[in-house]
């Protein structure tokens, strides 16, 4: 049976990284190649030994697809590509291709230069790996090879995030990466057409949550900012420029005047110029509102928000707000974990005197979002990764009930095999089609298959159905006819002609719906079967019936000979 295999790489219940292997139609695809941020050793990388014990991965994978620039989806990319070894194609959207290396380099700097780790990828490795990247546009089908094609869809979540549709022949899989179904201030919501994949693979980290509204998160943020300002303090926002920063700036800008505030807001980033450039480049990836407002302006030109100058650092009473994820090893990460004393290089310990608020604005799909996506794509099977099976029985039941599809939840390292039912498309010749249509009757109905005769020719990569005559012609073969004859003896005192007529009447009453003719040349014809009557030489009451039929009418012919062997009913005239 044809089947698709899905294996999330990794061990145990860890949800820190994404790296999924899919085998479909003889092709092997890796989806994402994330780093686990909770570990400091090799456990942070996916376990590629599942693919091969040693050696490069090139021969085992047809392609690698990265969904977006978050490190838990692309952090292990340079390691996999340059240290383990992979030279095949790597696909990602344009913004992801532009932004990935920035994050990877940032992360490398902190891990190697600040934390002093060895056995980590180098800057050159990042560059070399990115050279293997083939960028994707939304909704554009890309042929990876003759049989494998992929297409990217908008996922929301972060700039450049994509869901990807993978197709081999008539089997397909959709992988969502991270996505959200409600738009936020700078990104739209995920969208996909009714592509009906065999499997829809979705992250399920938030599958059993009901998300607090975006407005409430924003309200909390604004409240803290407002309270700080009212106390006479200043607000400092260190945040990755190409992530949530945009969202927050728009939010503050929108509400600053409404809240009647006049204090300046400082925006700290080293990337303002580059970020501007990227946003202009990828304006089509933001939502409608942004595009309308920022067509002329710089993305970071705000009325109330200014770049931070280090000289402000000594002012009293500041509050630091850090939306989202601070990479492990940074001061931010330590502070967010409640550390109030920091050991600085070469200096004495520093006391953390600021008020710290940790807020999460990341846009993820919750239970409702997953149901919405299933409704959109109409997959034949559902597969949820990165959840605890025991904690998702209800969701599984819900999906199975509402959509009548199977829902799989493999643990990390476990392979799910889904049997598919691929259709095999065959071209039909025009002549054959016309002939079938000419036979009349009801129009073709998928629920009521109708038998047709033809010849299936498989030539190179195409399959076609043609009439037998055409097939013979194409193949240069002569048509042979096969005819069966049999003799049936009947006791009947009538003349040959009368006996024949009696046979005709009998058959007409039994074989209703068949074409039965009594020809003047002394034959009865049932469809193509010929029946003749002659008297036996020894006894004129013994009639010999000659039945002759072609191979195509084998069934009817056999039936007639058995029927007539039983003799004619007495009441017939």
């Amino acid at each position: 049976m044809p089947e698709i295999k899905v294996t999330p790489l990794g061990a145990g219940q860890d949800v820190g990284r994404s790296c999924i292997l899919v085998s479909i139609g003889g092709k092997n695809i890796m989806l994402d190649c994330g780093m686990h941020m909770g570990y400091n050793d090799d456990r942070r990388f996916p376990d590629f030994s599942y693919i091969t014990q040693n050696g490069r991965l090139t021969d085992f994978l047809d392609c690698l697809i990265i969904s977006h620039f978050h490190l838990d989806h692309c952090g292990a990319l340079p390691y996999m590509s340059e240290m383990v070894g992979y030279d095949g194609p790597i696909y990602m959207t344009h913004p992801t291709k532009a932004i990935c290396p920035i994050l990877l380099e940032d992360f490398r700097k902190i891990t190697v230069d600040k934390k002093g780790e060895t056995n980590f990828f180098t800057s050159q490795m990042i560059k070399d790996c990115m050279k293997k990247v083939i960028p994707l546009n939304l909704h554009q089908t890309v042929q990876v090879d003759d049989e494998l094609e992929i297409k990217a869809y908008y996922a929301g979540h972060v700039l450049g995030a994509a869901m990807v549709h993978i197709k081999v022949g008539s089997e397909s899989v959709v992988y969502t990466g991270d996505y959200n179904m409600t738009p936020d201030r700078h990104l739209g919501a995920a969208w996909i057409d009714k592509c009906r994949p065999d499997i829809l693979i979705s992250e399920s980290t938030y599958a059993t949550t009901i998300r607090d509204s975006k407005r409430c998160r924003e309200r909390d943020f604004l409240k803290k900012v407002h309270e700080s300002i009212e106390r006479g303090g200043k607000v400092l926002i260190p945040v990755f420029a190409l992530g949530r920063a945009q969202e927050l700036c728009i939010l503050l800008e929108t509400f600053w005047e409404r809240m009647n505030l006049k204090a300046p807001i400082y925006f700290s980033t080293g990337l303002t110029e580059k970020a501007n450039h990227y946003y202009k480049l990828f304006i089509t990836w933001t939502n409608q509102k942004i595009r309308k407002t920022f067509v002329q302006r710089n993305m970071f030109e705000f009325k109330h928000i200014k770049a931070f100058d280090r000289s402000y650092a000594d002012n009293p009473g500041p509050m630091v707000i850090m939306p989202g994820y601070c990479v492990q090893g940074t001061i931010g990460h330590k502070i967010l974990n409640g550390q109030r004393k920091l050991e600085m290089e070469g200096r004495a310990t520093l006391d953390v005197k600021l008020q710290v608020e940790y807020m999460s604005f990341s846009a993820h799909a919750d239970a409702k979002g997953i149901m919405q996506l299933i409704r959109m794509a109409e997959p034949r099977n559902m597969l949820l990764v990165h959840g605890e099976a025991v904690k998702m029985e209800f969701l599984k039941g819900k999906i199975e009930q509402e959509f009548s599809i199977d829902c799989y939840m493999p643990a990390n390292g476990e392979t799910t095999t889904v049997t598919t039912n691929p259709s095999v498309p065959v071209d039909i010749s025009l002549n054959l089609l016309k002939r079938e249509m000419a036979l009349g009757g009801p129009l073709p109905d998928p629920k009521k298959p109708r038998t047709m005769h033809g010849t299936l020719i498989m030539k190179e990569n195409s399959l076609k159905l043609v009439s037998s005559e055409q097939a013979l012609k194409e193949l240069g073969l002569n048509e042979h006819q096969l005819r069966f004859t049999c003799h049936v003896q009947l006791q009947d005192p009538h003349s040959d002609a009368d006996t024949l007529h009696r046979i005709y009447t009998h058959l007409k009453s039994v074989l209703k719906g068949y074409t039965i003719q009594h020809l003047p040349d002394g034959t009865v014809i049932v469809e193509s079967i010929v029946i003749k009557v002659s008297s036996s030489a020894e006894d004129s009451n013994t009639k010999v019936l000659l039945l002759s039929w072609s191979y195509q009418d084998e069934d009817l012919g056999s039936f007639l000979s058995s029927l007539l062997k039983k003799g004619l009913p007495s009441g017939i005239c």
Partner: protein, 383 residues
């Protein structure tokens, strides 16, 4: 019909205003609206759908950020966690948790039969039906009210009308007590005021108080009003001291009457509540605040939850202004069908946090809010 931009503006205004009027605010959207909100522990509630056929029962754990006292600012989790879920065959109009167990009892509002559920534990997140309890009536317009005995073995008090009220032991299905009365008045509320004494509020406004230990006839307090088409809802305060036990009755015309539990017919205080659409309501909920003296909350008349301070009420009914109004459901609901405006279907107070409530509305929204007492405003909020 409101323009999208206009709607967004009004919503934004309310959110800006909320910076001062609420300490905490969480807004959720369920897939299907709920009519029931019931605590199953200090930090989890049950909700359930009420559509004609299949529905879900969900047990939701409150967001960690709301509950965190220390390190609240370092906790980013604002979401409900669906800790357990199950499916029902019909609507859920009433849901009661049996204290000290993982068991809940529901009624579908179509008959007086009850369904018994296991809310699930650590090994499974599925809520399963484990049995049923037969009620007196196979068909009932309003369905049964249910009350769980506060302590001792799992027992439920239930009934659709006052003459049907019975106490059933869950494990055996045995009827331990029956209320002896001939009246066929349908019930709008049923609750225990002590381990054995209960209060049954009828739709016509009369209130019965009885003790499950005796077969003595119940005490009856007649309706404050004899108006025929008026429906009444009741709530009894469970104060620590018997003398603080009061009963409030609210009518569909907005009349509110407070009396002492031991002297229901006697002089208490009254008010005419400031409800938007008196008369047009079916799911009124009135509740005493568990920790704020004299405060009551009312919902069901519109998309607003109102909090009143009954200490300001006098013996003669006068118009009362609410101390606080939660307008979140009304403001954030974008109505496509104006004939049925969004209304609040239920609300509950947090048993310990003085000003925290949960409210649910007909559009599927569920809000968790910690309101600021307008009389205590002015000081800077504690960090």
């Amino acid at each position: 019909e409101m323009e999208d931009a206009e709607f967004e503006d009004i919503l934004d205004d309310w959110f800006i205003e909320s910076l001062k009027t609420y300490k905490d605010l969480h807004v959720y959207q369920l897939e299907h609206p709920t009519q029931v909100l019931e605590w199953t522990s200090g930090n989890s509630v049950c909700v359930a759908g009420y559509s004609q056929s299949k529905n879900e029962i969900l047990e939701l754990r409150l967001p960690l950020k709301l509950l965190a006292d220390e390190n609240k600012s370092l906790c980013a989790e604002r979401d409900f966690k669906v800790s357990h879920g199950g499916f029902t065959d019909g609507p859920v109009r009433c849901l009661t948790h049996i204290p000290g167990t993982r068991c809940a009892v529901t009624n579908d509002g179509l008959s007086s039969d009850l369904q018994v559920w296991d809310l699930g534990g650590e090994e499974s997140d599925v809520i399963r039906r484990t049995g049923s309890i037969k009620g007196k009536r196979s068909a009932s317009e309003r369905g049964s009210r249910i009350a769980a005995r506060p302590s001792s073995a799992p027992q439920v008090l239930h009934g659709a009308q006052i003459s049907d009220v019975q106490l059933t032991e869950l494990a055996s299905g045995e009827t331990l007590y029956k209320l002896e009365t001939d009246s066929a008045d349908p019930l709008s509320s049923l609750q225990f005021v002590s381990d054995t004494v209960f209060l049954a509020g009828c739709c016509n406004g009369s209130v019965y108080v009885a003790d499950t230990r005796t077969s003595a006839p119940p005490q009856l307090s007649h309706s404050p009003s004899s108006a025929e088409s008026v429906i009444w809802w009741t709530d009894a305060a469970a104060g620590p001291h018997p003398s603080s036990r009061r009963v409030i009755r609210v009518s569909s015309s907005g009349q509110a009457v407070v009396s002492d539990l031991r002297n229901l017919g006697g002089a208490g205080c009254q008010a005419q509540l400031d409800v938007q659409t008196p008369g047009r309501c079916s799911q009124v909920k009135v509740s005493w605040a568990p920790t704020l003296d004299d405060c009551i909350s009312v919902s069901g008349f519109s998309g607003v939850v109102q909090i009143y301070n009954t200490r300001l009420w006098g013996a003669e009914p006068q118009e009362a202004r609410p101390l606080f109004e939660h307008r979140g459901h009304a403001v954030s609901s974008q109505q496509t069908d104006d004939s049925v405006p969004t209304f609040v279907t239920s609300h509950i107070w947090h048993p310990e946090r003085p000003r925290t409530l949960l409210s649910a509305a007909s559009d599927g929204s569920v809000h968790v809010w910690d309101w600021v007492d307008p009389n205590r405003q002015g000081g800077s909020p504690t960090p």
